[in-house]
Amino acid sequence: MNHKTLRENFAVMNNAYAKYSFDYFLDSLKRLGINKIDLWGGVQHFDPFAATEKSISEMKSRLTEQGMEIITYTPELLAYPYNFASPDRKVRKMSVDFAVRNLDIAQAFGVDTMLISPGWGLLDLPVETSRKYSMDCLSRIAEAARERGICLLLEHLTPQSSNLLYSVRAVQEMIESVNHPALCAVLDLGQMSVFGEKVSDYISALGSKLRHIHIMDGSPSCHLAFGDGILPLEDYWKELRASGYKGYYTLEINDGRYAGHPHEALQICIDALLKWEDAS
């Protein structure tokens, strides 16, 4: 792969750098030769609660001056106190409000996609009940996304994180059930491998609804640097290219083992990518 292909297609998510400042992250990107950011809205780097149009505009200008571009926005939903599938109505309302606030942030940044997770059902409640709560919230958020010209990227999760979306079939069913043009999907190659699924499963099930890829190595789980796991990543990339997928790939290399040296972990990935065959 040449540097041009790398820079055009690949972004880095800053959650890998959660123990470092955002300035450190930007410096690391420059050294890696990457100029695209999947902005994670964790308070270590970006405070979604206190952000204003002015502060976002200033951040955008700063990034533009440095030749950087935010290509998508990933609010922190799983770890923070929100849950679209909660049996508590107040929690669901707070969660939808937080998601809409983040849509405003995404719009201010000028991006047209934002990650959304389905929430998680309590394991001692019927999963169908939790699914309905999630669907209802996702419908409302999708409408708010449409009003802002943003497409939601629905993320599948391992069973330890959520009992709602841990197969391609579940993702497809959720998208079809919500049935909103602003609800699309992100394919996380690590989660896919944990589920024992294939890239072709997602391509055939989701088609044009597949709008973004999270790429990492895995064993098959964990979000590992390339070479630290067992996944045939170059094969996945070739298959996605051959399918006509032209969207972005986010390098999401945030396993805890790299927390003290994320730049080095990302450098390993970049070095590996540059050895891949050029796209045809």
């Binding site: 308070v43 270590q44 206190a50 923070y80 001692d124």
Partner: protein, 267 residues
């Protein structure tokens, strides 16, 4: 130590209802809990005073003792050591509410995460910022009659027992420490030394593994011996089981039962 000496943290049940957690804890033979404040069970920002009262009555009505309150602080958007003034303010506001809830619910001890710095920023700034923010929280706690304790956990700049002691010195003796037995072992600290009164430990978090929070038997810690030493130091009824390793998320009740059975075998 007896089974009923142990306190169980509800944080092991992150994907279950609080009722399920309480049922599981009672079924395993325990009757004391550390109440974890997280959106699945009990989130300080969402619960009103009346519901907090009802919740505490419901828990006590089951014959369960509320030992302490542990509001989630590691992964939530609050950080006493953050260089961002907005986050410092939000953190104080969050813990102010947590302290109020302790007062309403009759919980005398609250655990606070000391905060995490940034690796590329000076450690001294992390310590100074955390000390300032925590001083305000500690004053708040004192005024409400709540005992505050700093959590021993893996975080940047403030993750070692030595650093916690340093932070505590700056805050004064009214603030205690909740030590993590696995972290103490990983740091090579002697438990008897750590538990000396001048170090201010008021609770111990205990699990198998070196800060992996595993069920008893799933790690390498010599737990029967460790518990004897804890008991000999006078902490038999101040030991909290924290079994929240991710591998148990789908069946935390099994991890707790396994731990109870291991303890029971020693009796």
């Amino acid at each position: 130590m007896k089974l009923k000496d142990f306190i169980v943290s509800t944080c092991a049940f992150s994907r279950n209802s609080l009722e399920f957690a309480l049922d599981s804890i009672a079924n395993a033979g325990f009757d004391k809990i550390q109440l974890w404040g997280q959106v699945a069970h009990f989130h300080p920002e969402y619960i009103n005073d009346e519901d907090a009262n009802i919740l505490s009555e419901r828990i006590r009505g089951r014959g369960i003792i509320l030992d302490s309150f542990f509001p989630e602080g590691s992964i939530y958007p609050f950080n006493p050591a953050s260089p961002d003034p907005e986050i410092q303010t939000a953190t104080k506001r969050y813990y102010h509410r947590c302290i109020q809830l302790c007062s309403i619910m009759g919980i005398s001890t609250m655990i606070v995460t000391p905060g995490s710095g940034l690796i590329d920023r000076p450690e001294s700034r992390t310590m100074d910022t955390a000390a300032d923010v925590l001083a305000a929280i500690a004053l708040d706690a004192r005024e409400q009659g709540v005992e505050l304790a700093l959590l021993h956990s893996a975080c940047v700049h403030l993750g070692s027992f030595a650093k916690l002691k340093e932070l505590r010195q700056r805050l004064g003796d009214a603030v205690g420490i909740v030590a993590d037995a696995g972290l103490l072992a990983a740091e090579g600290s002697c438990i008897e030394e750590a538990l000396r009164p001048e170090n201010g430990i008021i609770r111990i978090h205990l699990a198998d593994g070196m800060h992996e929070h595993l069920a008893f038997g799933d790690g390498e810690i010599p737990l029967e011996e460790t518990c004897s030493r804890i008991a000999a130091a006078g902490f038999a009824d101040k030991t909290i089981l924290v079994l929240n390793n991710r591998r148990y998320v789908l069946h935390p009740e099994k991890a707790l039962m396994q731990t109870a059975e291991a303890i029971y075998k020693w009796l």
